[in-house]
């Protein structure tokens, strides 16, 4: 079957914060660029980010990028690559100022400068005390940022392919990436989009968990496509539980609530974080706060009839601060928890929020994979940025506000790097024969299957399994059983069927294709977690409670083929400063 082919210098898959920051560089350079997105750009999940963007502007008091770097390295439990962290923290002020110049409606200080609020794990002078580093637009920072970037892309006349889903990567026999196959949802048409640079900015895959702050669209599509094309996924055992998801609903309550002075209480009204993190208390890093909450609940000090949540108290901030700095949180609490936080505390539980792992890249956004003796050999033509990538600035645990920063810094860096390649002057390489076969076979199977299991049933089973077997606290028995169950689900995914056979906006087909990606993310996650016999950051194992630097200070690489694992060293060589050597982590 011959498909229509469209050619571009570069294609960007995903129109969230990272994709649109990159596309801005590309479009403004005059290259031909196509940006594909499953949803209209402003509906991408960046829109749901609430609290802020970390940058050492020093508007509220002394700050430095080196302190930010130290906090990020420590937050990562030393698994983050220090060259990448150094680059991100150094670039942070510049990308924030640029975003202001683009028109971002940041909150302001009386002197007209950008307001900054405290956030978890951010400190002055290498952990001495809390620092105000997060710029914000009330508690809608992601929304303001995503709309600002879209608006700037409208100005740059970026070409968007809205409601197009990328299906599979196209690689030639030498391994170079030459584009993607993609499905136009409205018409059901499949096309080959050919490019000299293919940039993934497809976001996370939090929908492998039953309880998640993530949007429905966060199905790890980029990771699924990369894995099927033979590219490994890095550090997939590290998933961040955000301490404050609304109990029962999963909807996010920003850490900015605690940044502004909110506190966590157990059933006896005790501010329990004082016991676990005497210095930063409720503003310790997220892995530590989530584990502490889980511990309180496990030991019977949870609240409510089932003692299964803790309370986030913020009424003491007063209505003025809540209405000015946290207005959406109040809406969410009223709508999803039946409480008005001006008067009552919000019931919260640790909830899956962010994927630290992803497609391995370097600081230019180039995808890297082991080749010969080089663990970080560049995969030509292929780039990844944002949550789908693992560069790795977040290591084993991401600090709050570093995700939006990651999108801006590496979106811009990858865009600039691709512009610097002068792709307009190069010819397109020939597409390999049968470039679209794999994607077409998946579609043909779905169209042809008369009966089979429902996508919703298999998806729900997958989500329940990952939730049960890969939660806040993990152990060998749970993980081993989880691996077996996920491998069985892998077989069930191949047998799903959909009733809807229409060409027109077939959302059942889209969900089935997303399930193909979710299962890859789930396999990578649980197999990597089972193998790592230590506790580090978000990987907390009750059977191996300590960090083990002698054996495990290394990145995991999961390969889909044979579910093989390999490891590579952590980068401990920042360019302009000395490395921060691993030490005991307390807050």
């Amino acid at each position: 079957m011959s498909l229509a082919v469209r050619k571009f210098d570069a294609i960007v898959v995903g129109a969230g914060g990272a994709g649109m920051r990159a596309s801005l560089q590309l479009a403004e350079s005059g290259m031909s660029v196509a940006v594909l997105s499953k949803v209209f750009p402003t509906r991408s999940h960046t829109v749901a980010a609430q609290g802020g963007i970390g940058a050492s502007l020093g508007n509220m008091g002394e700050d430095s990028w080196l302190w930010h770097m130290y906090d990020t390295v420590k937050g990562s439990d030393w698994l983050g690559d220090q060259d990448a962290i150094e680059y991100m923290c150094k670039m942070a002020p510049q990308v924030v100022y640029e975003l202001e110049h683009f028109g971002m409606p940041f909150d302001r200080n009386a002197d007209g400068t950008l307001y900054q609020r405290p956030f978890g794990g951010h400190s002055a002078n290498f952990g001495e005390k809390s620092v105000q580093r997060a710029v914000a637009s009330a508690d809608r920072t992601g929304h303001a940022m995503l709309h600002t970037l879209y608006q700037r892309n409208v100005r740059a006349r970026t070409q968007f392919f809205v409601e197009w889903m990328a299906l599979d990567l196209i690689r030639d026999p030498q391994g170079e990436v030459l584009g993607v196959t993609a499905l136009e949802m409205e018409t059901g048409e499949v096309m080959l989009l050919q490019a000299k640079a293919t940039l993934f900015a497809t976001g996370g895959g939090g929908r492998i968990f039953a309880a998640s702050t993530n949007a429905f669209i966060n199905t790890g599509d980029g990771l699924g496509m990369a894995a099927r094309a033979g590219i490994p996924l890095e550090d997939m055992e590290f998933w961040q539980f955000h301490p404050t998801g609304v109990a029962g609903a999963g909807v996010l309550i920003t850490e900015a609530v605690r940044g502004e002075g909110g506190i966590l209480l157990n059933a006896s009204g005790e501010r329990f974080m004082e016991r676990y993190a005497p210095n930063l208390k409720d503003l310790a890093s997220r892995d530590i706060v989530s584990r502490s909450m889980d511990q309180e609940i496990k030991e019977g000090r949870g609240c409510g009839p089932h003692k299964d949540y803790v309370l986030l108290k913020l009424d003491h901030l007063g209505p003025e601060v809540i209405m000015k700095r946290l207005p959406s949180i109040r809406d969410i609490a009223i709508k999803f928890a039946n409480v008005d936080p001006i008067r009552e505390p919000i019931p919260v539980v640790p909830t899956i929020h962010y994927m630290m792992g992803g497609i391995p890249t370097n600081v230019h956004g180039q995808v890297v994979a082991p080749d010969g003796g080089d663990p970080n050999a560049v995969v030509p033509g292929f780039f990844a940025i944002g949550e789908c990538a693992c560069v790795s600035v977040h290591g084993a645990n991401r600090l709050g506000t570093n995700s939006l920063l990651d999108l801006l810094v590496f979106g811009r860096a990858a865009g600039d790097f691709i512009v610097g390649q002068n792709l307009q002057r190069q010819a397109h390489k020939p597409l390999p024969p049968h470039a679209a076969d794999a994607a077409l076979a998946r579609l043909a199977r779905l169209d042809g299957a008369a009966s089979g299991e429902q996508v919703a049933d298999v998806g729900n089973a997958l989500r329940r399994t990952v939730q049960t077997h890969c939660g806040v606290f993990r152990n060998q028995a749970l993980l081993t059983e989880g691996v077996t169950k996920i491998l069985e689900l892998d077989r069930r995914v191949q047998r799903v069927a959909i009733q809807d056979k229409s060409r027109t906006f077939n959302t059942a087909r889209v969900e089935a294709l997303e399930l193909d990606n979710l299962i890859e993310v789930a396999k990578a996650t649980i197999i990597s977690a089972e193998a790592r016999r230590e506790s580090r950051g978000a990987q907390a194992r009750s059977d191996y409670p300590n960090r083990d630097d002698a054996n495990w200070l290394k990145h995991t690489l999961w390969f889909r083929e044979g579910n093989r694992l390999a490891y590579k060293p952590v980068n401990m060589k920042p360019v302009s400063v000395d490395a921060f050597p691993p030490k005991t982590r307390t807050y």
Partner: protein, 231 residues
């Protein structure tokens, strides 16, 4: 729980029709979207958009018991049965509850939705007082869900000529921004019997906005700026 839902697939249906559903809910199902997800697990041919499920992405706008709103933040307890779901009115239907929003976005793009300032930016942030920044509150929060514009009779009659409440709210967001240097061009762009003045202050926009914004007030401010400019 009982539903009546607008169904139309142009590939196989000669005309749209209403289909009845009766769905068993879980006690944890709180919002209309929760029920629709359950419904889709039974009948996967029902097509609708959804993403964030917390009212910030603007995907799942639809007409719910006669009023536009977001399924994800509409509490089931507030709805009488059968719950009647239709696509947003006034836009072409692609399939079921999914409408073609091209015209809506075309109007949004027509107001130049970005800060215009051609002077070279300073090394750090441009300064803006907290008071000047507050002028943007109630404007920048728009999620482009189209609940307002598709509840507006003036937009139904002239979707190609009238900017509509969402577009005009956003037009004022940039006029109101102390950093924007293009107020006069923006006013020129709107000083037109259709683009702005088709608004007859029917105020449906205010009634349906799921974010509690007030496009009507923004339109009023643009009008007074035009009046002030004329005298």
């Amino acid at each position: 729980m009982k539903f009546r839902i607008y169904r139309y697939d142009p590939a196989k249906d000669s005309a749209p029709y209403m289909k009845d559903y009766d769905v068993a809910l879980d006690p944890h199902d709180r919002m209309l979207l929760d029920a629709m997800i359950r419904l889709k697990a039974v009948d996967d041919t029902l097509a609708f958009r959804r993403s964030c499920r917390e009212g910030v992405c603007g995907s799942d706008a639809m007409n719910i018991n006669g009023k536009n709103g977001l399924a994800c933040i509409t509490n089931l307890r507030e709805l009488s049965e059968p719950i009647v779901l239709r696509p947003l009115p006034g836009l072409p239907v692609i399939r079921d509850l999914i409408v073609d929003m091209s015209q809506f976005f075309k109007q949004y793009h027509s107001i130049k939705p970005y800060v215009v300032d051609d002077t070279p930016p300073p090394e750090k942030e441009r300064l803006q007082s907290p008071q000047a920044r507050e002028e943007l509150d109630g404007l920048y929060e728009c999620i482009l869900c189209a609940c307002c514009s598709t509840a507006c009779p003036s937009f139904w009659w002239n979707p190609d000529k009238f900017v509509g409440p969402a577009g005009l709210l956003n037009a004022y967001r940039f006029i109101a921004d102390s950093r924007d240097q293009a107020t006069s061009e923006r006013l020129d762009n709107l000083d037109d019997p259709y683009r702005l003045f088709r608004c007859h202050t029917i105020m449906n926009c205010v009634d349906v906005c799921p974010k509690g914004l007030n496009p009507s007030a923004a339109i009023g401010r643009i009008r007074s700026l035009l009046v002030k400019r004329a005298v």
